[in-house]
Amino acid sequence: MAARFNLESLPSWRIVAIHVILMTAAILAIAPFVYAFLTSIKPSPEILGAPLQPITPNPTIEHYITFWTEHPFDRWVLNSLILTTGAVFASLLLDSLAGFALAKGEFRGRYGIFLLVIGTFIIPPQAIMVPLFVQMGWIGWQNTYWGIMILIISAPFGVFLMRQFYLSISDSYLEAARMAGANTFQIYFKIILPMGKSALAALAIFKFIFMWGAFLWPLIIVDSGAMFPIPVGLGLFEGQYGDTPWGQVLAASLLTAAPVLVAYILAQEAFMKGIALQGGVKG
């Protein structure tokens, strides 16, 4: 299948050139994070005085400690954990249920509902944030976790992804289960859910990245420092000072990036697949 090229056909100077180009690109992609880390362990005078000195002779974790003690960072982390846990779990559940129904169900209105999914795809979330903010006010969900989560949970992408995946499962699995006497819910729990594990994992990663990094909507719906997820806390924190304490900003940024980075290093293939699936889905 794969369009692999014969290595022997490439002259060695071209291989070297390819390595140089790709290495440059890789370094450009990673260097800012590495350099941010190296800076975050420098004492403050060095940060201001010697930007080009890569490795400090006196490493320190003072910025990490200062930031953590002067700001409710722990609470922001907890908020982000609550939000990602809830959003990921709810999305997986609702999207796989709806995706299953839209892929395999036979009921009136199925096509109409699917058109609705496609339709909501082209609504940019930003376009509905004002009315949604007002609506959240009606039901008292401003400043709640639910208010933040609900926009991520409702996104149509997951339904589309799961539907696409379930379409590829042969009907005979469901028919065999039907003949065995399973009802629709048993088929969902015993057949569909386990068979769709890879798609669920991809969707989970996708929603995780999305919720962990969400900025604009939480910024709008939450105005209490106690309710901020990390990105909002960080984004507003930087703006508080005339003279930005760079050591702290970078330390906090890296702390925020760390869970995603660790997860990415551990499950790198799954991450790329999760993103690439979006490409496979094609709009």
Partner: protein, 375 residues
């Protein structure tokens, strides 16, 4: 007991604008313990029929009765029917044991140890006891096939439905599985309906075969009946390999003529031709054409052999009469060379005659009498 009666089954797909009649007025009476093959080209409605029996499709009209009771208002799981799917539909996330136990867990209230006993019995019967803890992904095609069979067996149903179960196996495994399936069916004595498009499977496996074309039943009888006494041109062409040769011929005054050859029909043949019939189709099986004909016979046809395919036990010869290709399956040992001209002869007692417009059989060839009694 459990005879399965299908009466006037009709299934129409599509909406008002465009309808496809998948099954058209099909009636079959299947006896208890019988092994029936539904055979026909793809799109002939055989799978739809099977799915209507299973309850996966709702027939447009007609009835399906098991032991006198209509199945139509019963759910698939309550019909006492088990089905083996073409792709086996083994759940990849369950072990072989889990797959086989699944339907008992879902559809029955049997206690755990009874389920275990049944699954183990079935596994022993199928010789897959040591594979029970493996998942389908770790099993070979043949082993998956057995697990799929086991899943049907554990339910101890009245009827087995098999939907092209061998089509995913390689040729060698397929022929050994054919024999094994037959033996298994004999042993269990369960009424079995087997769908296939492969006429070899149809001929070798079933007690009776039902040949379908375009949703309509063409013939329902034993394999030999269908081979020797085809109801119509379709059945004649479908059963047998290589398939029967057909020649369109005009009939006048005891002579059959297709513009290239003339055949002086003996009286035994003429008796079958209804009066005022002038357009006929003559059919003759490749294995019945004689290649060592007496050149003096007036009905001998000289043909040029175009291609020769030696098969070992017999030789397939390709030739033509006029535009019509003719295939000859010769058991003669002498070697015939490509390009050589040989005299061939159609023995009149082995010729089939068909009405050209309706395709109905006018005459099947006369065969040895004991076969007529096989049913």
């Amino acid at each position: 007991m459990a005879e399965l009666e299908i009466t006037n089954l009709r299934k129409v797909f599509g909406d008002e604008d465009e309808t496809i009649v998948a099954v058209d007025d099909l009636s079959l009476d299947i006896e208890d313990g019988e092994f029936v093959i539904l055979v026909g080209p793809s799109g002939c409605g055989k799978s739809t029929t099977l799915r209507c029996i299973a309850g996966l499709e709702e027939p447009t009209s007609g009835d399906v009765r098991l032991a006198g009771q209509s199945l139509l208002d019963k759910r698939p799981s309550n019909r006492d029917i088990a089905m083996v799917f073409q792709n086996y539909a083994l759940y990849p996330h369950m072990t072989a044991f889990g797959n086989m136990a699944f339907s008992l867990e879902m559809g029955t209230d049997l206690p755990r140890d009874e389920i275990r006993r049944r699954v183990e019995d079935a596994a022993e019967l199928l010789e897959i006891s040591e594979l029970l803890e493996q998942r389908p992904g770790e099993l070979s095609g043949g082993q998956q096939q057995r697990v799929a069979l086991g899943r049907a067996i554990v339910r101890e149903p009245e009827v087995f439905l098999l939907d092209e179960p061998l089509s995913n196996l390689d040729a060698k495994l397929r022929s050994s599985m054919r024999a094994e399936l037959q033996e298994l069916q004999n042993q269990l004595g369960v009424t079995t309906i087997y769908v296939t498009h492969d006429q070899t499977e149809a001929m070798t496996m079933g007690d009776r075969i039902a040949i379908l074309n375009q949703g309509k039943l063409q013939q329902f009888g034993t394999p030999l009946e269908c081979y020797h006494e085809p109801n119509n041109q379709f059945v004649a062409g479908f059963i047998g390999s290589p398939s029967m040769n057909f020649l369109e011929m005009a009939y006048t005054d005891g002579v059959l003529d297709n513009g290239h050859v003339q055949y002086h029909a003996p009286q035994s043949l003429l008796d079958h031709i209804p009066p005022n019939t002038s357009n006929l189709v003559v059919g003759i099986r490749p294995e019945h054409i004689e290649t060592n004909a007496d050149p003096g016979d007036q009905n001998v046809i000289n043909v040029v052999i175009e291609v020769v395919e030696p098969m070992g036990d017999r030789t397939i010869l390709y030739t033509s009469i006029g535009e019509e290709p003719i295939i000859i399956s010769s058991a003669e040992e002498e070697i015939i060379e490509e390009g050589s001209e040989i005299p061939i002869h159609f023995p009149p007692d082995k010729m089939h005659l068909f009405d050209r417009t309706s395709g109905e059989s006018l005459r099947a060839y006369e065969r040895a009498s004991p076969l007529a009694e096989v049913k």
